[in-house]
Each structure stands twice: as structure tokens, then as C-alpha cells.
């Protein structure tokens, strides 16, 4: 069933779009990632212009994240206070990121930078997570299912001022680290055109030491606001949000997110991390291939970049 998208100005199969939306939704529900890092390349692949893909992807992620967050709220696995702190950082970062993006566009090469960003960040995060979770599973096998919780070492992070109690996460830490994490993710989200969940989730686990079950819901909570902000910015500056495309993607996406959330609670935390790590690594390798292998066509056409 072909459908013509009014903003993207291409005709695509509606079922393919529903399928992509559903797939991203399932991932979103399981892992708490918006799925933008998969959505954007998939949309390129079926011929949606890059600008439209990025802007519309953001809008679709808002919907699937809300669907996911509501499921997590019922389960009380959202640290709203932490989410708000991260969001404040995220919006500041996204604002700065949009400026950075515009600056890099003027310089040219923004394409390359975005790709390198993807490969480097996805590669590092995927690799670290994989090593860590394999180790965790080995430990659990050796010492039985309940490993004694390691007492957190006191470091410079604990010496920072403005301490706040995050009850849901069971943390009493300074607001500065989460604020910084939020800002960094916001910048990357704007530059890479994604929600930033795949960076946020590991950052919350490894930098902020939040419990894994809370991480997913809180990440989704934060993603809603960052992608919502991005959608609005794109609608105003580039007029590249395609409502018809968004609608098809999000019908698939919201259903997928509900399914994903149910799968997510059944999986063990370590398995969850290994799966996410493998997926992140796969995307990273795929994009690295594009950088290092000789492309079939050395020339490319950019109909939107020209004045």
C-alpha cells in the first residue's frame, strides 16, 4: 500500500513504515532508548530525505517514549526528580547543540562528523557494556545468584555541593553530575539527531550508579522532553517534520513500546545489557564500514544543502 508523504515528497509503502515504527517501539520499550540511532539510518535506507528523517524521527520518539513512560510509571520505575534534573541539562545541551550543528554545517563536513560521532560513541559504549555485563554474568554464576553489593567508593563526586536525595534511585548525590550528563547528552542528541538514550542509559548505570530497573523509565522520561524540544525546533527552522510519516511510524511505535516494556520486565538486567550492547555494536560496525570501505559511487547529490 503506497502512500505519498507531503513534506518528504516521496511515495513509500505504508506497511514498511508501520513495521519500522513497531520495531523501534519494541526496542524503546525494552531498553529505554528512543531508537533514533536505528530509526534515522532505516529511514535513509527507504529513501526519506535525511533532514525529514531526523526531524520526523524526533517526533515519533516523543510518542513511543510517552507510551513507554506511562507503562513504567505504573510500575513505579521512573525517578521523576532525577528525570527533571537530566531534562534541564538536556534542554540546555540541545540548545547549544543546535548552534554547534549550524556552525558545522557552515564549515561543511557535518555529514562526516555525525557519522564519526556515531561510530565512536556507539563503539565505545557498546564495547564497555558488553565487557561489563559478560563479567557480571560470570560473577553471578560463580558466587550464586545474589552477589554481595559492592560498597560504593567515596570519590570526588561525593565531595561536590548541592546534594539532593533521589529516593526512587536510592541515591543521595550532588545535582551537578546528572546535570552535566544531561547537558552532554543534549548536545550529542542535537548533533546526531537522536534522543540520546543509548548514551543516557549507560551514563546513568555507570556514572550515576542508578539501579538498572529505574534507569529505563527515567531515560524515557528525559527523552520525551529533549525530542519534543527538537521536534519544535525542526518544525520552526527547517519545516521538515512530516506529519503523515510521523503518524505511520508512531502507530507502529506506540504499540511496539507496550510490547517491548512487557518483554523488558521479563528479562534479567544482565541479559538486557548484553542485548543492548550487541545491538549498539552492530550499528557501530555497520556505520564504520561506510567510512572505511570504498563506496560504489564516489559522488553524492545533496539537493537540500545548496542555497
Amino acid at each position: 500500500m503506497q502512500i505519498y508523504l507531503p513534506i518528504a515528497e516521496v511515495s513509500v509503502n505504508a506497511l514498511v513504515l508501520l513495521g519500522i515504527g513497531g520495531l523501534i517501539g519494541i526496542l524503546s520499550g525494552i531498553f529505554g532508548v528512543g531508537g533514533g540511532f536505528l530509526m534515522t539510518p532505516l529511514l535513509f535506507f527507504i529513501g526519506i530525505p535525511p533532514v525529514v528523517a531526523v526531524a520526523t524521527g524526533a517526533n515519533q520518539i516523543v510518542a513511543s517514549s510517552i507510551s513507554g513512560v506511562l507503562a513504567h510509571l505504573r510500575r513505579r520505575t521512573v525517578d521523576i526528580r532525577m528525570g527533571i534534573v537530566l531534562t534541564i541539562g538536556g534542554v540546555i545541551g540541545a540548545g547549544a547543540g543546535v548552534q554547534l550543528f549550524a556552525f558545522l554545517t557552515r564549515l561543511g563536513q557535518v555529514d562526516l562528523l555525525v557519522r564519526v560521532c556515531y561510530v565512536v560513541f556507539l563503539g565505545i559504549i557498546g564495547g564497555l557494556m558488553l565487557i561489563e555485563s559478560v563479567r557480571a554474568i560470570r560473577r553471578a554464576r560463580k558466587t550464586g545468584p545474589v552477589a554481595p553489593p559492592e560498597r560504593r567508593r567515596r570519590g570526588w563526586v561525593d565531595a561536590l555541593p548541592f546534594k539532593m536525595r533521589f529516593r526512587t534511585s536510592g541515591l543521595y548525590i550532588s545535582v551537578l553530575p546528572p546535570l552535566a550528563v544531561g547537558t552532554l547528552v543534549g548536545v550529542l542528541a542535537a548533533v546526531m539527531g537522536v534522543g540520546g538514550g543509548f548514551i543516557m542509559v549507560p551514563a546513568m548505570i555507570y556514572l550515576l550508579h542508578m539501579p538498572t530497573k529505574v534507569v529505563v523509565g527515567t531515560s524515557l522520561f528525559q527523552i520525551i522532553f529533549v525530542t519534543g524540544f527538537a521536534t519544535l525546533m525542526h518544525a520552526i527552522t527547517t519545516q521538515s517534520v512530516d506529519l503523515v510519516l510521523a503518524l505511520l511510524l508512531l502507530v507502529g511505535g506506540v504499540i511496539g513500546a507496550q510490547v517491548g516494556t512487557r518483554i523488558g520486565v521479563k528479562l534479567r538486567a544482565e541479559q538486557l545489557r548484553i542485548l543492548l550492547a550487541l545491538m549498539v555494536l552492530a550499528v557501530s560496525l555497520r556505520l564504520a564500514g561506510d567510512l572505511f570501505l570504498q563506496p560504489a559511487e564516489l559522488f553524492s547529490i545533496d539537493a537540500t544543502g545548496a542555497p
Binding site: 500500500m1 503506497q2 502512500i3 505519498y4 507531503p6 513534506i7 515528497e9 516521496v10 511515495s11 529513501g47 517526533n59 515519533q60 516523543v62 510518542a63 513511543s64 517514549s65 510517552i66 507510551s67 506511562l70 507503562a71 505504573r74 561543511g108 563536513q109 555529514d111 562526516l112 564519526v116 519534543g228 521536534t231 519544535l232 525542526h234 518544525a235 520552526i236 519545516q239 517534520v241 506529519l243 503523515v244 510521523a246 503518524l247 508512531l250 502507530v251 506506540v254 504499540i255 513500546a257 507496550q258 561506510d290 567510512l291 572505511f292 570501505l293 570504498q294 563506496p295 559511487e297 564516489l298 559522488f299 553524492s300 547529490i301 545533496d302 539537493a303 544543502g305 545548496a306 542555497p307
Partner: protein, 252 residues
């Protein structure tokens, strides 16, 4: 420009005594509506040669028909390997290139039209691309790449022998327009040639427009971007909530 071209044609036509052949032509449709389920379109171009004298025996009759979409600026980039990574090293800013361009002829292009006539009327695809001061060393490589890529994607077509000519008088051909059409005024041109020289020309417009919901969305996005953005967010929030609520109900 247009009156000049037509005047030229007239002069050329008169320059050959007894060769006053005119085109009478029509299109199957002069308007294409892009609706939600638009999946490309086919246009039939047909016509006849009207004469006030017997068929001249000087040279073969050639019919060249073009359909051209609106032109847009386009950037063509070239990649090169730097430190193991494929990087865009050169960018050619091409002033204007048609978003769609199809040429159909009744014989090999070279045999029905001379290079001079091609240049004068801008008939073949490379002639339709305007690239002045593109900012690279070898601009020809870049325009060739543009034509190659767009031809592979079906936006540029050269179909020799696609025009059927009967009794040196009636002619017709079909153009397949892709689903990914750019909105705007498309131009169809018919050239009649003898001995590779243009002796008559006919031109008409085809309006390609979005209609209905497609038009409403497009207009709103461009004229009320803030409202459009908020609308997009509201739809996202509502559908996210609706899906969650629906699943909640299903579990009970």
C-alpha cells in the same frame, strides 16, 4: 526568451522552401494531482504534422519530445580516501538542475538532432543543467556524476526509439513519471526536425500539484511552522497516551 526561440523556429522553417511543417499536439492530461495514494503517473503525448505542401523528400523526419520538471540548485560532492576514511573533499554548487527530465526520440538522438540545435534549444539532459562557476577544478566530472546518479534513480531518462511515427505524420509516446515528483509546473516540448535541424516546435505546461490533505499539511508546515510543530507534538502525546491506555484496558 520564449518568443525569441519561436521566432528562430519560424525563421529556420522559412529558410527551407517547401518545408513548412507544423506540429498539432496534445497531452493525455495537463494536470497531475498528488494525492495521498499517488503512485506515479503516465502521460501520453501525441500529435500530428500538418503540412500545406506534399511531404518533402529532404532528410529524415525526426521527432524529439521532452518533459521537464522544475529546476532546483543542487550540491554534488566527491569523496576521496584520507587517512583510511572516505571523506567529502570537493563540492560543486550547481546553479540549477531539473528535478525530472525525460527525452524521447524516434531514432538515435545524434541522428535526429545536431549538437548545435541541441545547444540552441537545450534539449538533451546535459544541456538542461546550468552550472556556471561551480567552484571545482573539473566541473564536467560533477555534472556527469549528477546525470549518472539521477539517471540510475529514473529521474533523467533518454529513451531513443520511444516515439512512434506513422506515415511521417502521426506520432505518439508515453512518459512514466515517478512517484517522487517535485511539485511545480512541468514543461513538455515537441521538436520536429529534418536533416537534424529543428523545423518546428510545440510547447505546453503540465501542472503538478498536491491536493486535499497533502496540500493542507504542506501549507500549514510552511506558513504556520510553530502551530504545526505544536500540532505534531500534541498528536505524538495523544497517541502515546492512547496506546498505553488501550493496552491497560486489554490486560483487564
Amino acid at each position: 526568451m520564449k518568443p525569441l526561440v519561436i521566432a528562430l523556429c519560424l525563421v529556420l522553417g522559412l529558410a527551407q522552401p517547401g518545408a513548412t511543417e507544423e506540429i498539432v499536439a496534445g497531452l493525455s492530461q495537463d494536470e497531475i494531482s498528488i494525492t495521498a495514494n499517488f503512485d506515479g503517473s503516465e502521460i501520453l503525448v501525441f500529435g500530428a504534422v500538418s503540412r500545406d505542401a506534399p511531404i518533402p523528400d529532404t532528410g529524415e523526419l525526426g521527432v524529439v519530445i521532452t518533459v521537464e520538471g522544475p529546476s532546483r540548485p543542487v550540491a554534488v560532492r566527491r569523496k576521496e580516501r584520507i587517512a583510511g576514511i572516505w571523506v567529502n573533499v570537493e563540492t560543486a554548487e550547481i546553479d540549477s538542475a531539473p528535478t525530472f527530465y525525460a527525452v524521447a526520440t524516434n531514432a538515435p538522438f545524434d541522428e535526429v538532432m545536431s549538437a548545435v540545435e541541441d545547444l540552441r534549444h537545450g534539449v538533451s539532459v546535459p544541456e538542461a543543467i546550468r552550472a556556471v562557476d561551480v567552484g571545482v577544478q573539473n566541473p564536467v566530472d560533477f555534472t556527469r556524476a549528477l546525470v549518472r546518479i539521477r539517471s540510475d534513480q529514473g529521474y533523467y531518462q533518454l529513451r531513443e526509439h520511444a516515439v512512434t511515427v506513422r506515415e511521417q505524420t502521426l506520432f505518439d509516446t508515453r512518459f512514466r513519471l515517478p512517484a517522487n515528483l517535485t511539485e511545480g509546473d512541468y514543461r513538455a516540448r515537441i521538436f520536429l526536425t529534418r536533416d537534424r535541424q529543428v523545423i518546428s516546435m510545440f510547447e505546453t505546461d503540465i501542472a503538478v500539484r498536491k491536493v486535499g490533505l497533502e496540500r493542507v499539511i504542506y501549507t500549514l508546515a510552511h506558513e504556520r511552522p510553530l502551530a504545526y510543530g505544536i500540532l505534531a507534538l500534541v498528536i505524538a502525546v495523544l497517541s502515546g497516551w492512547a496506546a498505553s491506555a488501550a493496552f491497560q484496558l486489554m490486560r483487564r
